[in-house]
Structure formats: structure tokens, C-alpha cells
């Protein structure tokens, strides 16, 4: 088998950080090649170099043995490689059709919008993406946007396609559809590079896997020859046992109660209660309303009807500070959107909810803040230069830990976490789930909202939502298949 794409000895620095330090990868013609590594290992940086967005400080990229085209020659790059980037490249103010054919709306001259729409519809149909070609991309759900990006990447007809964490925001059936598409592309001889933190996906879809650690290449092996724990060990540099959820007995005290909650278009007539020492999962496929419900519980949204009580006291609807004061801590759905202020320090981001306790008369004492932050950095094992480093400079997993720190800093009696491990590497995932369980062992109640079955395994029971209603209360001991069936509404 010949080598289709090759990166040799690539070095890339961003100021003081070295994102890639002599990294290599060689991808054989026609294979689906996984690239895995912990957050910040340099995977996305390699992607931007392989797609010609950034110039390596040293090293070279070769396609089928030839040197890569000049950086300015975008057309040449696009004939060689198509990509779904980790960061969205959808332009919200433009229609889906235009996003699909950005900068190639027409060959030359006037754009024929009608023809463009037709082409877009055809493309969306081909990849079974159920999206209106004329809708504004900004009106799509995160999942739909992701599908549009994938359809666009596939549409170039390039012989090499890179997918950087495409499944981080997809639910089960959507992932299956994507994999089906990838398999058929492979049959047509297309080479792919696939990046994901879901290692089971690597086993499902890839033939070869390359592991990066600390900006360097560690190993490249056939997937079939590499057991799961060896792969994790290669990524983390040490042997790591799979996460074992702990057993506990929930207490009797109701810490969180939602009664008769309805929000038009999102969820209808939901009752929910969480006891101290209990972890309740909220699951459901796309648009089931679980996130909307969780956001209502924490005060980010206001229900049309119904009440939320924390520790027995009713909380003013739609009032985050009130919910926090009542003893609630939470991790929002999207860390970039609602999780942290990138320019502010780790210490500050982590201690906002307790700022009033860090000094008198409205003053925040920097030394007390630093002390508290160091405590949180220690307990959550956040990899940072210190409490004064801006969160924007941290890798995704560590930023997510800071968001956890913010949720946990006030010793909440109720913890609501939404997609707690999105885009987070194996080890960080364990740390974060462990943090939820620690809090619960200290007597808190927790709600875990997630699409990932791994996250739901720590739950004492899982409420499954379907089209805005809670359809089933599944106790511990479910199998993947059972739970997915309920989520898809196949069985009730």
C-alpha cells in the first residue's frame, strides 16, 4: 500500500507553547486512520497544517509523494484534502445552500441562486441531511450545523478527508449515519483521517491509529493489534484503568424538585426530583428537550409554568444568582459560550460564584482568591501555569475543568452538569466524572444531562426524554442497547 499523505518532522509553535514538536504521521492510501491524543496534544494543529491553513515552522507535508502546494494556492489544497474542522466554519448569517458552496457558488460570473439551491438540495439529499437548503445556518441546531459541515467536506470529491471530532456533538443515530457514509467512501477508495476522544469509535471505523502525546508522535499501530488499555496507556503515558462508577445509597432529603414544568416548544409537564446522595441522569436524542429542562432548573431559562425548588425552597424562575444562593452549582452546555471568560484568569473564573465570600464590603481579596483557586486546581488536577493564567490559553479539557471548578466552588448541594465531558480526553473525563461523584458523596444531589452513555453510567437512575416529555425512569443496571432503544422511542 502506498502512502497517500505524509507529514514529516513537523514543528509548530504559538508563542511560548510548542503545539507540535517533530510530529509525524503517514496515512496509507484508502485507509481510515485515527489520530488520538489527550487535549492539547496537537491534533487540531496538525489538521490545520495538513489542510494548508497554517505553515509549519519546520518539517514538510507530502501528498502521494509530492510536495504540498504553496499556502496561497487554496484551490490546489482543496483538490487534495477536505476537512471538517473542530471549530465551526459555518457562517450563521448565510443560508445553508451558500454555506455548502462558499466561494464556489458559481464557476464565474453571476451566481444563479436557483441553481445553487437545487445543487444544495441534491447534496443534502445525497448525504441524507434533513435540512432546508434555504434556512439560515444560524437557525440550525448545533447538530444540524455539524451535518452541513460534513456534507460540505464530502462534497469536494477530494480523495483525502479529515474529520476533527465530528461526533462530539452528534447523537447515536447521527453517528451511525456518518459511519455508514464513511464506510461507503472507504469502499470508493477515499482516504480519511479521523480524530475523536471516543476510543470505541476508533475501533468501530478505523484501521490504523496514530497516538500523539505532548506534541510528539508516540506510536502508529493497526487498530486490531492494539487493545483498548494499551491505547489509553499510549495516550496518557501510564497505565489507566477504565472508570468504575461507585455504588452508594441515596439519602432521603429532596434537594431538587421540579414540578409541572412546561416550556412551549421545548418540554411539557415534567416532574423531577433528586435526593441528596443521588445522581439522576437526563437522556434523550436530539431535540428531546433535556438541555432546555436542565437550563430551566439552573435558572438560565424561565419555564412557562411550573416551579423549581432547591433544598425545599422555591427559586425565583429565570434567576441564576438566586438558584446559586439556594445551593445550586452547574456546568452549562457549551463551555465556550457560557462556561468561561477567556481573558480572565483561572482563579477568577473559578471563583465568581463565591466572590462575595472572598472579602468584605464588595472587595475581593486577591490572596484569598488565589488560595481558593489553588485548592480547586489541586483537587480537580487542572493543568495550568497557575491561578493567574487566562483560561483562554488552556486546552479544551482543562478549560472544562475550570468550568467544573466554578460549579463546585461553593460546595453546592445540587449539581447540574450538561454534557460534562464533551470534547474531553479519557483521563480528564475520568477526573470530571469523579468530581461529580465526589460531590455526591459529600451529600449533594446531581443531575447529569448527556448523550454519552459513559457519563450516564454514574447515575443511580436515568430519566429518558422523548419529544419534550419524560417517558421512562430507568434504574441502574441498564445495557447500552436498552437505553438507546428508549431514547429513540423504539420501546417504552
Amino acid at each position: 500500500m502506498s502512502i497517500h499523505v505524509e507529514a514529516r518532522n513537523v514543528v509548530k509553535r504559538f508563542g511560548p507553547t510548542t503545539a507540535l514538536n517533530g510530529a509525524e504521521i503517514a496515512i496509507a492510501e484508502g485507509e481510515t486512520h485515527a489520530l488520538v491524543g489527550r487535549n492539547g496534544a496537537g491534533k487540531s494543529t496538525l489538521v490545520s497544517i495538513l489542510t494548508g491553513l497554517q505553515r509549519p515552522d519546520a518539517g514538510e507535508v507530502r501528498f502521494s509523494g509530492e510536495a504540498a502546494p504553496a499556502l496561497a494556492d487554496r484551490d490546489a489544497w482543496r483538490q487534495r484534502v477536505a476537512c471538517v474542522y473542530q471549530k465551526s466554519t459555518i457562517i450563521p448569517a448565510l443560508t445553508v445552500a451558500e454555506n455548502l458552496f462558499l466561494n464556489r457558488q458559481s464557476d464565474k460570473g453571476r451566481i444563479n441562486w436557483r441553481a445553487l439551491r437545487a445543487r444544495a438540495r441534491e447534496l443534502l439529499d445525497t448525504y441524507e441531511v434533513d435540512v432546508d437548503a434555504q434556512a439560515l445556518a444560524g437557525d440550525l441546531s448545533v447538530e444540524q450545523r455539524q451535518l452541513v459541515e460534513i456534507a460540505r467536506a464530502l462534497s469536494f470529491g477530494a480523495r483525502f478527508i479529515i474529520l476533527d471530532e465530528p461526533t462530539a456533538r452528534l447523537d447515536g443515530p447521527a453517528i451511525e449515519r456518518l459511519f455508514a457514509r464513511m464506510r461507503s467512501l472507504r469502499e470508493q477508495g477515499v482516504t480519511m483521517m479521523y480524530i475523536s476522544h471516543h476510543l470505541d469509535e476508533v475501533y468501530q471505523i478505523c484501521q490504523t491509529v496514530t497516538v500523539f502525546r505532548d506534541a510528539r508522535h508516540v506510536t502508529t499501530r493497526a487498530v486490531a493489534d492494539l487493545p483498548h488499555d494499551e491505547l489509553v496507556a499510549a495516550m496518557t503515558g501510564e497505565a489507566t484503568a477504565a472508570y468504575e462508577s461507585r455504588v452508594r445509597t441515596p439519602g432521603d432529603r429532596l434537594v431538587l424538585e421540579g414540578t409541572g414544568l412546561t416550556l412551549a416548544g421545548r418540554y411539557t409537564d415534567v416532574d423531577l426530583s433528586v435526593r441528596s446522595g443521588e445522581v439522576v441522569g437526563l437522556a434523550g436524542s436530539a431535540s428531546s428537550g433535556k438541555v432546555g429542562l436542565a437550563e430551566t432548573l439552573v435558572g438560565l431559562r424561565r419555564a412557562d409554568t411550573g416551579t423549581v425548588a432547591v433544598n425545599g425552597a422555591r427559586v425565583r424562575p429565570g434567576d441564576v444568582p438566586a438558584a446559586m444562593r439556594a445551593g445550586l452549582g452547574f456546568v452549562p452546555e457549551d463551555r465556550h459560550h457560557e462556561g468561561f471568560v477567556p481573558l480572565l484568569s483561572v482563579g477568577e473564573n473559578a471563583t465568581f460564584p463565591i466572590a462575595r465570600k472572598l472579602g468584605r464590603f464588595g472587595v475581593v481579596s486577591p490572596s484569598r482568591r488565589r488560595a481558593k483557586a489553588e485548592e480547586m486546581i489541586e483537587s480537580l488536577d487542572i493543568k495550568t501555569e497557575g491561578p493567574d493564567q487566562p483560561v483562554g490559553d488552556l486546552s479544551g479539557g482543562n478549560a472544562q475543568k475550570v468550568v467544573f471548578a466554578r460549579a463546585l466552588v461553593d460546595d453546592p448541594t445540587v449539581l447540574v452538569v450538561i454534557n460534562p465531558t464533551a470534547g474531553v480526553d479519557v483521563k480528564a473525563k475520568q477526573a470530571l466524572l469523579g468530581a461529580v461523584e465526589d460531590a455526591v458523596e459529600r451529600g449533594a444531589g446531581a443531575v447529569v444531562v448527556s448523550d454519552e452513555l459513559d457519563d450516564l453510567r454514574i447515575c443511580d437512575r436515568v430519566l429518558v426524554m422523548f419529544h419534550g416529555r419524560v417517558v421512562k425512569d430507568v434504574p441502574r443496571g441498564w445495557t447500552d442497547h436498552e437505553l438507546v432503544a428508549v431514547m429513540e422511542g423504539i420501546e417504552d
Binding site: T51, D75, R78, I91, A93, L94, L102, N103, R104, Q105
Partner: protein
């Protein structure tokens, strides 16, 4: 065959949220003053707005591309003035270089383009804040008019620079034709050309535009240069209309330019808005000015009425547009 989806159809109408306002102004104007609805008066409104509308066109494109240019207003006076000074003798306020008079229009456009290119250079190459760079440039470029003229008006102008702003073509001022054609070109270009669509992509998500193979820097340079050139053309039209270049030509326009673009639906945040919308914004501002003049509102209170109308138009386009503005 296919009915357009409701959202997209709505988006198209969003360009036209000011049309009811324009109709209302026409009715109110006709009611308040009999002269208002005459062909003569409406032609005057168009002629008076012709020059400033070119600035709105330029600013709308720059805003859509996600940038900002305050210095356009200074170019309106400085570009034609420098061109004239290169041409006329010292006795008429010239610099004594004495280039041929026929070159004056290309020279003015060139000066405008050079100012735009310099803005682009500072903003794109040095990655400085567009607001503050063009604010400094607004001051500097105006100084480049004041300095050599020592504050004096240039009134001995070559005939060629006066022609466009004062000629009539087919019964309408040439300036109106020119502005109309350029707006038509703008509507077409930003609606149907890849280059025009690239502005939306750049303003909407710069990294995505770059990833899609759009030569972002080149397009942005182009937009700043085009903006400066249009401002220079606006200056040429204004020079022809007024017959001389005063030291204050264009000064203070920029606020109206932004007001027109924004009430016309162009977002200050980039990537949103249309040239047609910007045009309706210009017309609203022109009609309001004309009506206030006709009914003779006290000059002291005019700003209050004027500002309030901008606020109301803003609210209308906010409510009709439905989304928070930025």
C-alpha cells in the same frame, strides 16, 4: 417548482423594513407642504443625497466585511482638493506642479484609493483596531486638506471636475444617475458575484472564509481601496454641486452615513445587511432632512427631532428584523 422557505423569504423582506417608513414620510411630507411631492423637489432630494449615498455604499460594504472606516468623510474633501492642487497654478491655491487639468478626476480617485490602501495596510497588516486607526486617519486626512490650503476654499477649479456634479443627463442630475448605477452595481455585486458574497463570508466568520479559500486579506484591501475611491467620487460630485472645495467639505457626514447604513439594516458586527437596505436608509435620512427644511422647524430643535427619528427607525428595523442588534 419550489416555494422558498419562510425564513429566507422573511430575510429578503428584512431589507425592506424601511419601505413603510418611506411611504409614511412621503404621505406626511405631502400633507405638510404642497411643494414636497413635486418632481422638482424630489429630484432635489435625490441630488442632495447623491454624494453622501456613495459614502453609505462604501461604508455598507466595509461594515458587511466586518470592518469600519471613519476616515471616509475626510476623503470627500481631501481627495478632490489634492487633485485640484496638483493641477491648478499657485495663484489659484495650487502646489505649482501643474499637471494637466484633464487628469484631475483620475488623480482624485487615485488619492482616495491611496488613503483606503493606507487604512487597509494599518488595519490588515498591523492588525490595529479599525475604529481607532480610521479615527486617527479622519484627523490626519482632514489635516492634509487644511495644511496646504491654509484653510482657504479652492474655487478656481478645472472644468472637468465640475462637470459630473453639475451636469444634467436626460432631465436628471448626472450625480443621481451615477449614484443610481453604482448602487445597482453594488446590489448586483454583493448579491450575485462571488467576490461580493466573499464580503459576507469574511464579515460573518473570518476563519471560515479563509478555510473556504477566500483570499481574505486581498478582499479586505480591495474593500478599503474601493471605499476610499467611492469617497473620492462622492467628493467629486459634491465639488461639482457646490462649485468649490471648502475646508469643511464632508466634515460631519460620517455620523449620518452610519445612521443610514444601520437603520437600513447593515450590522455593525459584520456579515449582515444589504446594499438595497442601505439605500432605503439613505432615502429616509434625505426625506427627513427635506421635510424638516420645508416646514421650517427651528434650527435649534432640529437635532432633537432628527435624532429621535433615527431612534424610531432603529426600533422599527429592530422590531421588524426581530433579532438583537450588534
Amino acid at each position: 417548482m419550489t416555494a422558498p422557505a419562510p425564513r429566507a423569504r422573511l430575510a429578503r423582506f428584512r431589507d425592506l423594513t424601511l419601505v413603510p417608513v418611506i411611504v409614511l414620510l412621503l404621505v406626511v411630507g405631502a400633507f405638510l407642504d404642497p411643494t414636497f411631492l413635486t418632481a422638482g423637489n424630489l429630484t432635489n432630494v435625490l441630488q442632495q443625497q447623491a454624494a453622501i449615498s456613495l459614502l453609505v455604499l462604501a461604508e455598507a460594504m466595509i461594515l458587511i466585511a466586518g470592518k469600519f472606516d471613519l476616515s471616509l468623510e475626510s476623503t470627500v474633501g481631501t481627495a478632490p482638493a489634492i487633485a485640484v492642487m496638483l493641477v491648478v497654478p499657485v495663484t489659484a491655491g495650487g502646489l505649482g506642479i501643474g499637471l494637466p487639468g484633464t487628469l484631475v478626476i483620475p488623480l482624485a480617485l487615485l488619492v482616495g484609493a491611496a488613503i483606503g490602501a493606507f487604512n487597509g495596510f494599518l488595519i490588515i497588516r498591523f492588525q490595529l483596531s479599525a475604529f481607532i486607526v480610521t479615527l486617527a486617519m479622519l484627523i490626519i486626512v482632514h489635516g492634509l486638506l487644511q495644511g496646504p490650503t491654509e484653510g482657504k476654499t479652492l474655487f478656481q477649479l478645472p472644468d472637468s471636475i465640475l462637470y459630473l456634479g453639475s451636469a444634467m443627463w436626460l432631465g436628471l442630475p448626472a450625480a443621481v444617475w451615477i449614484a443610481g448605477l453604482l448602487f445597482a452595481a453594488g446590489i448586483f455585486g454583493l448579491g450575485y458575484l462571488r467576490l461580493g458574497r466573499a464580503l459576507y463570508a469574511i464579515g460573518g466568520n473570518l476563519d471560515a472564509a479563509r478555510a473556504a479559500g477566500i483570499r481574505v486579506d486581498r478582499v479586505l484591501y480591495g474593500v478599503f481601496i474601493l471605499g476610499g475611491t467611492l469617497a473620492a467620487l462622492a467628493g467629486i460630485l459634491e465639488t461639482g454641486r457646490l462649485g468649490a472645495i471648502g475646508n469643511n467639505q464632508g466634515v460631519g457626514w460620517i455620523f449620518m452615513v452610519f445612521a443610514a447604513a444601520v437603520i437600513g439594516g447593515v450590522s455593525m458586527d459584520g456579515g449582515k445587511g444589504t446594499i438595497l437596505g442601505a439605500l432605503t436608509g439613505v432615502l429616509v435620512i434625505g426625506l427627513v432632512q427635506n421635510i424638516l427644511t420645508l416646514i421650517g422647524v427651528s434650527g435649534f430643535w432640529q437635532p432633537v427631532i432628527y435624532g429621535s427619528i433615527i431612534l424610531v427607525a432603529l426600533m422599527i428595523s429592530r422590531i421588524a428584523g426581530g433579532k438583537a442588534q450588534d
